[in-house]
Symmetry: D2
Subunit: 477 residues, 4 copies
């Protein structure tokens, strides 16, 4: 049995290549799909089948790209009207060499969600492995909020039943291969385990120890963030994303061309570190660091206007492009040739804002009361605690809250470690704010330095200032 | 949790890199250990610990090579006197970041065999994964014959107890990470699964459904092959193999240098395919194909005399060198520059023997009775069946049987598919046999062509001819 | 100044990437053009211009593929009506950063041939380097036979004048960067030098020491071989080859699919070595070894029917696919999964023919008179000498001569070293010949073994048997 | 003829691999010598000879490392007592396949400097190419100051004669392959050409149009910078640098380990960009950017104390390690795991200084008079011009001038573009200076912004402030 788990870093998306006797199948391929072909070649396998466990919101499915190159068949659940591929149903079976793949319908995350049970009939009928998509994760279960608030309870009930009656019923020793690992936006509690088993989840996954009613209550109480690009992905995946024939190689653009693009509405995505960005950057650019591309680009960048990417030294850009293509950003115009220093070496205008350390801030708070903007996930804000008086707005939702950020006060932006706050600060700067400081190290460093935090249980002005909508998001469980 | 399974193809040897919070451990590293460092670097991990589940016979342990590069500590079981590293005992615990590694002693395969139980205390005390070395495999259990026939039953009993009381007792949902996959010489029945679980093994592993006595009986009845190089590996691993500081880059040798080396006792390892080798080869060379290097070199090549490697076009030689270094062959002098054609383009003498297809042989057997030499594993010979009158000698043991192979009769050499028989034929040719034919496709093709075989249950002359020693090896289960 | 010479092995085709101050130009790009983009990226250059020194016959120009990815402008000589790009004329100048590229028209090889003179005005006006396409090579000058016999003298005169008045007139210290190196079919005498200079050529190139009349006489006396695929390339290059968006990744095909393709007219290209092919091959397949693909595929394979590629172990196939795509073979269906042994392991029919060493043949010629078929270049046949009685037909032209090869006699095929004769033998076998032997080592080994040859000056039956057309090809210079 | 020029970026060091008929030679190998072996393997060549054109000061010669792997012979000029290798003399000849390498002695840069003349006797006796080491460059000639001021004129005379009588005398059309390209510290005027020719140099190299006396006068007037590490290299190269067996793989170090190392005297080399470093850095670290490693590390770092390397995201570190090993820095302890943000996320102390744009500075100079420290090469300072009142100290010589830099005034550090000034600023900060500003874009941006400069011809206070030693360095030619 050939088995390869392929992780798309950033998305924490898992896809799987399995093969036997010259044939292979891919489950949930990513868009930069050369990896499957190279692995299959290495193992002398022909990819004949592609399975999509579900329509996806967080990335462009690579099935059509891969099918175009391999001639393989695309299979997905029957309960959503895809414009391509073949619907499969409960009980359908596929032989990949000596391996049997059986479809089970596991609705809940989406209506058409399926799981694929792998067994090896030559050995036993008992299932060996399940590719369970977004249905069940290590330590978490799928989101059920994509059909809107009104159907949340209905979908939560469905996923409860799918997990209980379809997956856990198969026994304790089955290897679970979910579509996401820790860090994915598709679950807030997913553990970063390489795999898990039905047995281990039964013993450790908090959602699996709840009764049906409590489970539904807990699920609908959760309101994970939904970046605006999800809509675009949904459309893409139903109709099929444009075929790219490989990973794009965006060119190196001279300074003059970048100026031109910017004047025509181009968007600047700056990969550099928080200190680098703060000290100098192209006006109007947004700070999205390398490993944050998958999670944060989709909150701020649109699909129409060209994107120019800025780095310090233009090193290791292939993963950058791959992350962007997975999100459907086919509008990358190129990289600033020579890196960011080309800009200031050309005497072009740069902008900057301040950074400070937690020691600096601690000192400063003795005498000043800057506006503290905390852009972490609301759960971290509430659970870990926050600075007294901190105003919370999740980085991705900052645009909706900008009217509440004062323009005439010094602002200190903070988050977990200083990266999301760099993005938030860049957004403020691009919107005309001038007295911005990014706190390097964020609340993580603040705590390590031994400085105190307020918690949401505490009755504080900060709590008061959390807008009603936000407050409802706080997980009390 | 960082997790990476690294497979040494050919050996079907699995090693594992696990990491958390900047620290990492490697379990059973191979000798070409750059792979661990590169992965660790990619994940910003520092390798601090190396665990050896047991002394190994089939390859050179890479612990010292890796420790030299990383400064990490080498840990192995206490019951064997290694000349390096630190002994660990039942109950010892190591934290790798947030992960807990607990040692359990699981003797049986060797006296000092340990397994390493991984759990994630932040989540639960329940074990998540076990690195069980050669103790328990997917579908098989460890060999217990390394201390000699007289201790076979004792070791089989130990392994039975180790598996029952130490491993299976932990529960059904635990991921098992053994040191070998399908194709390894360390087990005859290992399934080629990427992982397995305690639960799946309980349901499907035939050795786990046996009682203690039956288990011991079955184990000692098995007599897997033991290549002579195992002794060298054992010594190497107890004292520590020479440190190579990376993968060697043996040079391309001109024809004249190869002649010189051969005249000084050099050994020729020819990587080419069976047809290529049969049609022309350097006299005295042995045919060990690319994917057979790990399993067959150690039967025929010694560690003193230089080895010259021959290929058709000198493509993709890095895996060749890696396979040889893993077996401790530090005596590779180089590759014939320009590939095999350099030899005949230089008008040097070549040797050859015949090949035939199964159709050819079928036809020929109507009128002739060549000596049929079948060099497969005795189990395949017996279970799958063989040609009438076939003489069996396992390819690796051919040197011991050569006196029984007639020099004055036409010989047809066969095996499963034509590769092992190519090696056997090359050995015969190097020993002066002249009327040799290698059957391309072997018994696999013979059966596919619809031609009949005799089985060992059948009373046939072939059965008669199996030497007593060999016959005792046939698995009757 | 950024400078990179990129060699397409097999074609011995040189292309050049030059850059300065963020801009770059490519001269004569090959079709697998990712290499230019990667180099340019590494050096932070944007490719803005592509220059084609001439329409090409021996490969698919990669200009459109590269322009599609980079947005660069394609420039070629004005005297041929290309369907794409921009015509440039004598005296046109382009600045690539601080470098000046000046066009000079150098007709002769083709009507629109141009050379590109590079100078560095900041240093001096004197030319530094010339990209002279197929006009002047190290040790040779361009072919002038592409417009047919009737215009041969006219074109030879043009090239004489181009070289004298345009190139050599520039001075002695200029670096010459031609479009081909040694081994190219675009010149029979090209030396395999990395570069050359005007001064060195003046002193050593035999064609530059001739007067105009003698030069023309010598050129028209030469009749280099012209593979049939040249026509296809010419058409492709005038209209623009299909855009592939990267290097194709043909799949691994199971045996059954290869059978199916073959039954539908598929062509089999077998990469294996001469001994490997001779001992066993798929009936009807042709033996084109790895490094012979660029030079010989175009004589035998058509562009309509699918091509299946066979290797022993499927190693290092990327260069194989690149060579085929450069020749415009977009009809590669895939590789036989598992390599050639998959075929015989499936008990499918194989064919074979004999091989022999020069010692064998020498012995055999004492008593037998097989038909000797010598498929070398006619010049080697004539100059180096040949076996008594040898019949000459260049491997590429074998199809036209097949009626002259007897079907009822043993045939020994020979060439320089045994590769071209392997292809010729495969062609004979595919056409029903049965008594074929390929001489391993060919005439090279024959001579090294100390056996005698006849030369064309000698009055021999062999000479007699050379057909009139062939005889006219012999270079008497 | 196989030919490959291998450039060690940063050092702008050229080495050459040439081969013919299975044999190869390397000229001036770098220490990370795997590149030669890989190329030779690819071309089926065995490296048999290594030639060193001269003892080197700017990098560790890789000859012993390469010889150890290939068994090749090391040849160098006879007039320096190397502890390894074989001396060669004028007129010695070596055949590498069909190529002839003839030694000519070309003293001047060093006493034992040789050049290697390559010719192809099968074609002509006339030289084709010369490997001229540091004797003659594109646009420049070798330094002659390594034996001290007192022998400068003597060595300049020698090199004049070597070039005239040994190299230029060979003719105009010879390809020159020097050991350095543009950007090397071994010549201040070397053009960044890939190659050059004797003819082109005669026409364009200013030093070749001078008479002997003027040449000597001009050479001794030049006082190129000599980093202190040159002494270490010289010793290394005479005795042979330690053999590393490949490129080191320094580990990722956790924050705590870096603190520990620093407390034990460890040195911190920070790769990050000027804005990134300025905004926050580990106290006492020095800012040496990626492409500045080869040129600047040797001025500031010692060979005894361990070096820790800091990057923002730990991308593309292989070239960093290669640059350091080429300079003999075998004391790299590792990289800060997780990159620089690990430091501030751990709440550890960081330092910072200001940056400003040229616009900012222009504005500021209206009202303030900060101390302007210009750390460019003195030639740029003098020729291009500088800010009024600027104090000049070359970045590498800053330690010797530090007593002249005021501790109580605001300091603006500037250079060509902002990188060298970042290093200088980091040095000041590490030495307790507090009011530091690094000018991003440097004098290049200042000029592009249209702001005026003073030139050294001008009578200005700045000129006055140049110390006498420095002033003597200004090139008046």
């Amino acid at each position: 049995m050939y088995f390869e788990k392929i992780v798309a870093e950033g998305l924490s998306h898992n896809s799987y290549l399995i093969g036997s006797q010259g044939k292979a199948a891919v489950i949930d391929p990513r868009r930069d799909c050369d990896v499957y072909i190279r692995h299959a070649d290495q193992a002398d396998l022909l990819i004949t089948h592609i399975f999509e466990t579900h329509r996806n919101e967080d990335y462009c499915i690579g099935s059509r790209e891969l099918a175009e190159k391999t001639g393989s068949v695309i299979c997905h659940g029957a309960n959503t009207p895809f414009r391509y591929g073949t619907p499969v149903k409960e009980g359908d079976e596929f032989m990949i060499g000596s391996l049997r793949l059986s479809i089970i319908e596991t609705p809940g995350h989406t209506e058409e969600s399926i799981s694929i049970v792998l067994s090896d009939p030559a050995v036993a009928d008992t299932p060996y492995m399940i590719f369970c998509g977004d249905t069940l994760f290590a330590g978490d279960v799928a989101r059920t909020d994509f059909y809107g608030r009104e159907r949340d309870a209905e979908m939560a009930a469905k996923i409860y039943d799918s997990i209980r009656t379809k997956i856990l019923a198969l026994g304790d020793g089955i290897i679970l291969c979910p579509a996401h690992g820790g860090g994915s936006v598709c679950g807030t509690e997913i553990r970063d385990y390489p795999f898990t088993t039905t047995g281990y989840e039964k013993m450790t996954n908090p959602f699996l120890s709840m009764g049906r009613d409590r489970f539904i209550r807990e699920r609908i109480r959760q309101t994970p963030y939904t970046p605006p690009y999800f809509r675009h992905m949904e459309r893409c995946n139903l109709t099929g994303a444009p075929i790219l024939h490989g990973v794009p190689l965006p060119p190196r653009l001279p300074v003059a061309r970048v100026q031109e693009l910017q004047s025509e509405g181009g968007q600047i995505l700056d990969l550099r570190s928080p200190p680098s960005f703060a000290a100098a950057h192209i006006p109007q650019s947004l700070a999205v660091w390398r490993t944050g591309i998958s999670a944060f680009t989709g909150w701020f960048f649109d699909y129409e206007r060209p994107i120019v990417v800025i780095d310090d030294f233009n090193t290791d850009l292939d993963p950058v492009i791959r992350q962007l293509m997975r999100l459907g950003y086919d509008n990358v115009a190129g990289f600033l040739a020579g890196g960011f220093s080309s800009w200031y070496r050309s005497a072009l205008e740069t902008a900057s804002f301040a950074t400070c350390t937690v020691q600096d801030l601690h000192e400063r708070l003795r005498t000043e009361t800057p506006f503290i903007l905390d852009v972490r996930d609301i759960r971290n804000f509430s659970t870990t605690g926050h600075l007294p008086g901190a105003y919370h707005a999740y980085v991705g939702e900052l645009p909706q809250h900008i009217s509440e950020i004062p323009r005439d006060r010094p602002i200190v932006v903070t988050c977990d470690a200083g990266f999301k706050s760099s993005l938030a600060a860049s957004y403020l700067a691009a919107n005309g704010y001038t007295q911005i400081t990014n706190l390097l190290g964020g609340m993580r460093a603040w705590v390590l330095a031994g400085y105190p935090l307020l918690h949401s249980g505490d009755r504080t002005p900060a709590e008061e200032e959390i807008p009603a909508l936000e407050r409802s998001r706080i997980l009390r469980g």
